[in-house]
């Protein structure tokens, strides 16, 4: 045991295993997105399952995770490049690019949820509602004002955070399951509120104006020379920027005294209080920051989809966000990314299971909780400056 730990600190795991895994996953993802035939897709999914189990069995995944842990920052850069490679490959394919943008924005939202659930343990079962607040904010602002659309994204997040603060009082006065019930009630109320509110379009919903930065309209197709590009590439760029910002923010948060505070209060409020931690303050910080990220993702997603309706922001959608978190490994930002890719892309490609997607999510969550309660990628112990000695 001791030797193992020593070797982990002093040895230098090579970079290539994690990079190889990344390249393989990217190629696989492109193949999965490109293929249309249902049997082929099922075959690909089965192959991925077998490959992951086999990699675990022969110890390849160990090598990959060690290499990843030591070279995380380089790996992160390469992951960004990989995302751009996927987008470049599908540069003229509206459907796939929309799917990719959906994945990216869902990752941003789930990162926000991760700050709440994963770090401070504030249970939020109204994720989709805060996502919706962002989307409705951009619908209203784009239709009635000339606020720059980039700023609208930020305002969407701020609105979600502000409306979320209405929930703070009941959330702070209750613990655990009771706080969860408060957010469930909010999720149900929110959808009803949208449905009866004619100003916000009622059940039919609203059109959302597209993004426009200094005359660069995002809803026009582009072309470079002879190559035609889908207009979704615009949204892909902005979504990636938002994702990178959110990821860096959440990563730094985790690797700071604040991340430590949030963990301490999740694990033992009483003990944390005995060491000076202001419980209410840090719950407010994590709840507000989480809602800010969810709202920003929602505001941008509203513009991407150009149409929103109350049915997109139901309690069931909130549960999907939570199930992404459970599947990926609560508290692990990389787990969030992997799980979002799976949960968003698989039902979309596998048209045969579309109708049963909620059934499949439910089975997935139960299976994860039973057989791998820490998720696909369990959260590792915090390293403040990984790669360095500590």
């Amino acid at each position: 045991m001791k030797e193992m730990n020593l070797s982990r600190v002093s040895s230098h795991a090579p970079l290539w295993p994690s990079l190889a895994a990344l390249v393989l996953s990217t190629v696989y993802l492109i193949a999965l997105l490109a293929v249309e035939e249902q049997t082929l897709i099922i075959g690909l999914l089965a192959a991925a399952g077998v490959a992951v189990i086999a990699a675990n069995y022969v110890g390849v995944s160990d090598a990959v995770s060690r290499s990843f842990a030591e070279h995380e920052s380089i790996f992160s850069l390469c992951a960004v490049v990989a995302a751009f490679a996927v987008a470049a490959y599908f540069h003229d394919n509206h459907f796939v690019l929309l799917l990719v943008v959906t994945v990216i924005l869902y990752i941003v939202a789930t990162l926000g949820l991760n700050v709440q659930f994963g770090y401070s343990g504030v249970l939020n079962f109204a994720g989709a509602s805060f996502f919706g607040i962002g989307a409705y904010t951009s619908a209203v602002l784009n239709a009635h004002t000339a606020v720059p659309t980039l700023l609208v994204v930020l305002i969407g997040g701020v609105c979600a955070a502000l409306i979320g603060s209405l929930l703070l009082l009941p959330v702070l006065r209750t613990r655990g399951h009771y706080a969860a019930l408060v957010t469930i009630a909010f999720a149900l109320l929110f959808k009803t509120f949208l449905e009866v509110n004619d100003v916000l379009g009622g059940p039919q919903g609203l059109q959302v104006g597209g993004m426009n930065i200094l005359g660069w309209s995002f809803n026009d197709n582009l072309s470079i020379g002879d190559i035609d590009l889908s207009f979704y590439l615009n949204y892909f760029l902005v979504s990636m920027l938002l994702l990178i910002g959110a990821f860096v923010l959440v990563r730094r948060l985790e690797r700071s005294w604040i991340g430590l505070n949030l963990d301490a209060l999740r694990l033992d409020e009483t003990a944390a209080g005995c060491f000076g931690l202001n419980i209410a303050r840090w719950k407010i910080v994590s709840f507000t920051l989480g809602n800010l990220l969810i709202g920003m993702a929602g505001a941008l997603f509203g513009m991407v989809g150009s149409f929103i309706a109350p049915n997109n922001y139901t309690f069931a959608d909130s549960l999907i966000l939570v199930s992404i978190l459970l599947l990926g490994g609560i508290g692990n930002v990389w787990g969030v990314i992997v799980a979002t890719i799976i949960v968003v892309i698989v039902p979309e490609k596998l048209q045969t299971i579309q109708e049963y997607r909620f059934l499949i999510y439910a089975i997935l969550v139960i299976a994860v909780l039973l057989f791998r309660p820490d998720g696909l990628l369990p959260r590792p112990v915090r390293r403040y400056f990984p790669g360095a000695r500590s």
Binding site: S256, I258, A264, T270, G273, S390
Partner: protein, 269 residues
């Protein structure tokens, strides 16, 4: 109570004074009009049968429970009914009877939880000024390392292992490190030997004495059931029974007190 012996190291001023401290839970009186003085730089043993109010006393002092009546003074300031946060900030630190470490977190993280008041908690500092944060991290890493070095040098190499992987005695050590890292004025140890073997307990007590010798101005109150340990490390003992103080003095004299023997062994009919 006139016969209770009050031979204290009279030169030292009181660091903590409880006067008429009472705490009721419904009909149960867990602390009953308790007067208790802790003198600066002493090691005070707090003993008594199960349910006599020792842990309740700690919980009232550290603000987890509010007193029903009575006053608490710490370093001449009134701290009656202060919050746990306030008590930590004035310099009172504690361990828990049922070790309350955060098991999934690393040794370092657990120790740093105890260092809360010395860490820069600003959002901007933590998120945006990473190089300044790194300096602060390094400084505190060295402090945690130095403290752990006293208790158990082998643990230094495991600073970033989860605490859940450690045996009970090491968890106790980490808990004490967490209480000591912020250099408190008063340390409350609630049954540090619970769940440990006799030898492990002896080892831990040596550690505590060692730390006290290295730290000036540290006052310790210890709740303990192992009387051998109490005799060895305390300079004075207070015995509680049904929330009342029944004896106060050096271990030998309180152990000989008929009231104390009655509390532990019952009345002879």
């Amino acid at each position: 109570m006139t016969e209770t012996v009050t031979t204290t190291t009279a030169t030292n001023p009181a660091i903590l004074e409880a006067r008429g401290l009472t705490r009721r839970f419904g009909g149960v009186v867990a602390l009953d009009n308790l007067d208790l003085t802790v003198n600066a730089s002493e090691i005070l043993g707090l003993i008594g049968p199960n349910g006599s109010g020792k842990t309740t006393f700690f919980n009232v002092i550290t603000g987890i429970y509010q007193p029903s009546s009575g006053t608490v003074t710490f370093e001449n300031a009134d701290v009656t009914g202060a919050s746990p946060q306030k008590m930590y900030h004035v310099g009172v630190s504690r361990t828990f009877q049922r070790s309350r470490l955060s098991l999934p977190l690393s040794l370092f993280d657990n120790i740093m939880i105890g260092n809360h008041k010395r860490l820069n908690q600003g959002l901007w500092f933590n998120l945006m000024r990473r190089s300044a944060f790194k300096d602060e991290f390094e400084k505190n890493f060295q402090a945690a390392r130095a403290l752990l070095e006293i208790f158990s040098p082998p643990l230094v190499k495991r600073m970033f292992d989860p605490v859940g992987a450690l045996p009970m005695i090491d968890r106790r050590r980490i808990e004490i490190c967490r209480a000591l890292i912020s250099e408190p004025r008063l340390l409350l140890l609630d049954e540090p030997s619970a769940g440990m073997t006799h030898d492990e307990t002896a080892e831990l007590m040596n550690d505590i004495l060692l730390v006290r010798d290295q730290t000036r101005n540290l006052t310790i109150v210890i709740v303990e059931h192992e009387m051998g340990m109490i005799e060895r490390i305390t300079s004075r003992c207070v015995v509680l029974n049904f929330g009342r103080k029944i004896a106060d003095g050096p271990y030998r004299s309180v152990a000989a007190d008929p009231l104390v023997q009655e509390a532990y062994l019952g009345t002879s009919v």
